[in-house]
Subunit: 632 residues, 2 copies
């Protein structure tokens, strides 16, 4: 089973290949998942204990002590949503234990579940902040209190434990907690949390339990939002998407993670209730977001002050907020839209966000994190802007690290989908995929060195005697793709064909190879992006590249680097960064040394870090001649 | 007398021509000061009453009632520094009444002074926030409480009343308040406010009263800062300039207004104590700030989140914070440095900041204000960023409007200086200047249509029979300046001569005319400013221009406008914006219609406002041909 599992009556076009049916343990993603499982999860548990987050559940259960929150003494505030760090960590563990047992990890998770169970009040309510230092008064501040947001993450963890392991301890806790929401909803039967999240969780709870009350509550929450009921707050009602009804707003607005989680819930509600106009509203908003407010890295959120989307094309690289959680949320939304609509743009967006905006959130060793993901860090700085400098092992607001853990552990769920006609490979990774196609089991082996190379070998290990279609996504960045089938090549039209499909009666042992041409690319920005005018970025395959000071000729500041027109970067092995990693070598002046090195954006800040930039200025005649402030 | 009045023993190079000796009632500045006096001051008093700020003094004096703060219900916080709004307004009134009587204004001021007097505690302490809703416990939170900051503004108002009017009611209150600081300083004899301001006020109090304890306290505050005593707070110790000693920090950092006010105090301390290394530290920092962190408009502060300076060359036009108070503070600092060092760059910086970054803070009618001064507002927006949209009549944090009022009312003090050899005209405005030169009185009449025209006529009305030097600043933007003396022209070298001086025995009736060539200029940005690469700005004289949607051909969005290389803007009268105002007409494509209109940046947002931008993209071959995201 997977984290997003539309019911049979939903209006979804595609069905996910569930996690239990995806064997992923080699290649690029095998290594990322191994690090997440073997390093990050243990690190995370230790941090949850160190930060006091687990201890706070003990206090809620009655233990004497002081509520703790990392950095509260420095920042002068205690965030009310720290419980979710535990829930997200638990969700990650569920998916991982579902993939393979690990007694030590299971033991830690058992301890955490016991703590959660012990903290729940007899009336079902559960929030350590409210119970320990909030005077026990539930639902007093729905706008800022994050109580329902916390329940959402609890529900998602509970569903993962149910689906991956058949362990319903958290599900019992979560359903009792949801029942307690009646205290908040009052006679109107609806309550709006300032931070959406519970909506998608409630729909998934309905999908899990069959209890339609959960779907109905989620539907009411989606419908009630956007009428100004939450108030203006510090940042205006758009901050929490309460400025326009969810089915009316034509663009994303406000706090990026809130908008994206809300739209996840809206898609889930629309899918289950058959509400095509609601679905269309989200789809339209998503396309606008991709076109006007998405960083090249798939990052989202242009403003630090309120963690918000900016105006169209307001995408400053140095000022990027691009919270790791926002990139994760964007993949969650694109995945839901892909299932609902089959739109191949969604799979492309997932790829761009995963390889760049999501992965950058963790160090290669899985134990240090970014919250903010800048696209430019300067050589000369006075005071670090939080998150644009060094990765840290944990944060006072630690939403991102465990979100990354749970998301990576669920990543195998996003590789492939099925429909009545066959299997669609949405993301390329070395894996074994087991699916049911037209009622018959299929087992497919995928082998690839993606994203370093564009060759993907697919071998059918099991199939029935019925014909079905194997569909392979051709990423939008790929100008030339072909299918090798034994001795024959089948070229794909290079005019933007989005899928290569092969329909036949597949036999065990049948093998085809997809060849995606993957030259390094020099990418011009949309001219409406003011902040990177006159610059270019380097890309190869799904990867966005960046330049770090460490890869410049000695004594060169990154701000001095300009690229001549017509330079062609060439791939080079960079084992110094990571095994198998492919960097780029870029001549600074056309044809002549010296050259500079570029590495994948996700891999930056894994060495002693000085400056970094994704967008690099073009050399112009004016710049080459020196400059003059006044030409008049 | 003026607001900054170094003592005879100070190491100042120049002496200000005091406000009582500057008659300014015509021309550009005459109109700005008239609006400030006749519109803003009355508006401000009404707003102080409406917002509860005056009423809070009544509460502190014992009246029953609820402490009020504009917008506190929406933003969820009450700022502890609202008293300063009254003090700044009172300072403005003092300078204005010193220029000419106004019984109605005097009556309002009398009422305000009575309220301040009534609120002061018997022990001298005075802070309505602490007294009414802070439990009366003084100096409990020096980092965030702004208590000494409030005293600083009280002192400055008191000095203005003393110097401009000989009215010492506020001075008595202020000195008693300062005496109460002993409760905060403890045995160490020093207390550090998170928001510097009191340092310069204490030096001025010493200059006024001769009491060296005030200078010594200010000196201790300057020396104690920068050793981490205030703590990290939410934004790190650089936020309040506590990261490096004031005499060591090589660059500005943190909250822009705090840094600038601190450096004002440091210059004042250095000047009075003869501390040349401290003075040199501020001067070095100031030059670096002008070179690397100052907007074309003289605005300062690149980041919204902590109202801070950015890294070098981090100057996003759309993300500009550029608080009106920061521009004012920069003029206050440059003025102090000009007096201390005579550095002509300081007078240039004052001019740039005043005509652009300061004036933009108020509507032309003087009753609506910007706090944040963006350099770009887009056509398409979802949610307004506070301050980048419409001017407002008052703000929850209303530091800027009364700061603008007091600063405009003190502006005549900044026009000219004297030294042992003569008079230096620092800023050009229609005015009569009375000064003492080498012990003898001089009266000088200045007539000009500056900044609209570059001609400045100077006539000596009174002088002695001793020779003295009349020095005229040649702004750095001016490529050609000449002095007309009767029938003869004396050209200035065009190679960056900063001053034209004329030494003679001046006779009553002597007249000379300075001619500053003032063509429209197309200004290239420093290539290190990433955010405006590929753009140019339009300037003329001291004015930065901008383009608003209202001056585009119908149906054109501002984001579509690009300027061809080689276009030459031409001045055009724009009586529709303001009487006498000179705009620019700019051909979009070289030589051909249509053209677009540009208006002075300070005058934007005085019509129905859609989009605005200062930096306009250059038309490039690539842009002209249409675009392609991927050139590879």
């Amino acid at each position: 089973m997977t984290g997003v599992q539309p019911t049979a009556s939903a209006i979804a076009r595609l069905i996910p290949v569930s996690t239990g049916n995806v064997g992923l343990d080699g290649g690029f993603w095998g290594e990322r998942l191994r690090v997440n499982r073997e390093r990050s999860l243990g690190h995370g548990f230790a941090q949850l204990e160190r930060a006091g987050t687990l201890q706070n559940f003990r206090l809620a259960a009655g233990l004497e002590g002081t509520y703790r929150a990392l950095g509260a003494d420095v920042i002068g505030t205690v965030f009310p949503f720290l419980d979710t760090d535990v829930y997200k960590w638990l969700e990650a563990v569920a998916w991982e234990l579902g993939r393979a047992p690990d007694p030590a990890l299971a033991s830690k998770a058992h301890e955490a579940i016991e703590l959660v169970a012990g903290a729940q009040r007899p009336d079902g309510y559960l929030n350590t902040y409210v119970q320990v230092i909030g005077g026990g008064r539930a639902y007093r501040d729905l706008a800022w209190g994050h109580e329902l947001y916390c329940f959402g993450h609890l529900i998602q963890a509970a569903i993962a434990w149910h689906r991956a392991l058949g362990d319903d301890r958290l599900l019992a806790i979560a359903t009792r907690a949801v029942d307690s929401i009646g205290q908040a909803t009052g006679p109107a039967g609806v309550a709006l949390d300032g931070h959406p999240e519970i909506e998608m969780a409630l729909v998934e709870l309905y999908r899990t339990t069959g209890d339609r009350r959960h779907l109905e509550l989620a539907t009411r929450m989606i419908e009630a939002r956007g009428h100004g009921a939450i108030g203006e707050g510090r940042f205006g009602s758009a901050y929490w998407q309460d400025h326009l009804p969810v089915r009316d707003a034509s663009t994303v607005a406000g706090h990026a993670v809130r908008q994206l989680y809300l739209d996840c819930g809206a898609v889930d509600v629309a899918t289950e209730t058959g509400d095509v106009t609601l679905l269309e509203a989200v789809r339209r908003r998503w396309h606008d977001m991709i076109a006007t407010r998405t960083y090249l890295t798939g990052g989202l959120g242009s403003r630090h002050r309120d963690e918000s989307f900016g105006d169209p094309y307001e995408l400053p690289p140095d000022g990027a907020y691009a919270e790791t959680c926002a990139a994760i949320a964007s993949v969650m939304l694109a995945w839901r839209l892909l299932l609902a609509t089959g739109d191949p743009d969604c799979a492309d967006a997932i790829e761009r966000a995963m390889y760049n905006g999501v992965l950058v959130g963790s160090s290669l060793d899985g134990t240090r994190y970014f919250y903010v993901n800048t696209l430019q860090r300067r050589t000369q700085r006075v005071a670090a802007r939080p998150g644009d400098g060094e990765r840290v092992s944990w944060m006072p607001c630690a939403c991102c690290p465990p979100n990354l853990m749970r998301f990576l552990s669920s990543w195998p769920q996003h590789l492939a989908t099925t429909d009545a006609t066959g299997i669609q490979i949405q993301q390329y990774a070395t894996a074994e995929l087991r699916a049911e196609v037209a009622g018959a089991p299929v087992l497919l082996k995928v082998e690839t060195d993606y994203p370093w190379q564009g060759s993907v070998a697919l071998t059918v290990l099991e199939s029935s005697d019925r014909p079905w279609t194997l569909s392979l996504r051709v990423p939008a960045w790929c100008r030339s793709a072909k299918l090798r089938d034994g001795g024959t090549d089948r070229p794909s039209a290079s005019t933007g064909e989005r899928t290569i499909s092969e329909t036949r009666t597949w036999r065990a042992g049948d093998s085809i190879v997809l060849e995606l041409d993957m030259p390094a690319r020099v990418t011009e920005p949309d001219p409406r992006v003011d902040a990177v005018r006159g610059c270019v970025a380097l890309e190869r395959g799904p990867l966005v590249y960046c330049v770090e000071t460490a890869d410049l000729p000695s004594g060169t500041e990154l701000e001095q680097v300009e690229l001549a027109t017509g330079v062609q970067p060439t791939p080079v092995a960079r084992p110094d960064i990571a095994e198998g990693l492919v960097g780029l070598s870029v001549p600074v002046v056309d044809g002549a040394p010296p050259s500079i090195g570029a590495i994948p954006y996700f891999a930056w800040a894994n060495r002693s870090v000085e400056a970094m930039r994704v967008w690099i200025p073009r050399r112009t005649a004016r710049n080459a001649q020196g400059t003059n402030r006044d030409e008049g």
